[in-house]
């Protein structure tokens, strides 16, 4: 251990919800997107699932909102080291969308993509079982554009770059295919509890 002379750091708070190397951002919610925030109205938003599925399908804003709603209350973790506690997102569980398209048994991975062209890859198992959402509300209000509104993917058990803003679609594949940050040296899975920040972690 390389102790830094004179460094004491913040008062230690025992927080079992804080993954290793993370700090509590409190009320802040930093915005870190690398591209121009798209000017996307709800009426122009669509969400498609295709690839290795029986019935590829596209939902528009109204069709997605007609699905049974679901809420995520919990924490989110960004690879840049901040975590945010007690957030509340509203939307629809991704399981509902996936049930409608009937994934093929050969599907093992997915690429989520944004209306901005951003991409991120995930194992399909991380998108099922009540652990992923399409979210359009934050704290009971419409999700702001800079945080991915009108709607974003939400996969809160992974680093937040996996929760693609301005979600446009998910393609199911039988192999892993690195997305935008993953091609830029970031970890393929991004589990904050194992501190999978960069490839090789």
């Amino acid at each position: 251990m390389n102790v830094t002379r004179g460094f004491t750091g913040r008062p230690r708070v025992h927080n079992p919800g804080l993954p290793p190397g993370q700090y509590d951002a409190g009320d802040d919610w930093p915005v870190l997107s690398a591209e121009v925030t798209p000017d996307l109205a709800p009426a122009d938003w669509t969400f498609r699932i295709d690839g290795l599925v029986a019935r590829p399908h596209t939902w528009d804003w109204d069709a997605a909102h007609a699905l049974p709603g679901s809420v995520y209350e919990g924490d989110i973790h960004c690879v840049t080291s901040w975590s945010k506690f007690g957030v509340r997102f509203g939307g629809v569980s991704l399981d509902v969308f996936l049930d409608a398209v009937r994934p093929d048994t050969s599907a093992t991975h997915a690429v989520a993509y944004s209306h901005s062209g951003y991409t991120t890859n995930l194992p399909l198992a991380d998108l099922t079982g009540g652990r992923a959402w399409i979210a359009w509300e934050y704290g009971g209000e419409p999700l702001p554009a800079e945080h991915g509104g009108p709607a974003r993917l939400l996969v809160p058990h992974l680093y937040f770059w996996k929760s693609a803003k301005w979600i446009a679609g998910i393609r199911l594949l039988d192999h892993d295919e690195p997305g935008f940050w993953e091609q830029n040296g970031y970890h393929a899975r991004g589990n904050p509890w194992e501190e999978q920040r960069y490839s090789g972690d």
Binding site: G9, G21, E35, P56, Y113, H115, Y198
Partner: protein, 275 residues
Amino acid sequence: MTSTRAATSVTAPTTATVAEAGVRADPGFTPPTRFAVPGRIAVSNRAAALWQTATLTEIRRETARVATFRFAVPGWAGHLPGQHLMLRLTAEDGYRAQRHYSLASPPDDTGHIELTLDHVEGGEVSGWFHTEARPGDEVEVRGPLSGFFAWPGDRPALLIGAGSGVVPLMSMIRHHRVRGLEVPLRLLVSARAPEELIYAREYGTETTPVFTRRAPEGVPVGRLSAAHVAPLLAERPAGGWEAYVCGSNAFAEHASRLLVQAGQPVDHIRIERFG
């Protein structure tokens, strides 16, 4: 607006995908949207996994709240202008704090790198640097990181930064100068007042400072505006500008909107937001 068109042109779900046809998708999946994210720039990621010791060798004051810290990192693998690193400090009880910081120095082979850090109110890492650190101290770094906000010096670059957002842009300007590059390079840098302008003595004819609260005599006070951006876009260098925007999220939103409104293609705007 370009971004609106980018968003609305993808609503028709007509594309039959290669995966549906039972064909393995090509490596490098490109979504069926008008691709608005600029592509990655080829960089080596081989050094990113290793934590290395960085020994502080020099501290230079830039402004009342900002200083530059020079480190010896003998194993540094080199970097591209614009890239960042992760830095961590370790307390005696094992507690660690880590942050991302942009590299201020241009790539060179001296085994030294420089970071320019704001003294953040209540910041545990920047606070240590500004109140405790002295030459000889050791910290740990890993990097360089990211092949997105990086400029290899191969294309015209239009740089827009505010506050300490100018730090990665200064690495680009220094690189341009040190290598004697002739590819066009321009910088719009926003600061509240002359005494808060980082690297004030280093700017040349490539730079236009913008002062938002107080300016030197004869220089207007005001926010970065379309009037600043328009003449630069009008230069139309061969191959077009690659725009690099760096600063707070509010500044990045403002500056990137100005660029889009002035006709800069969204897939040639790279943004680094400090958060």
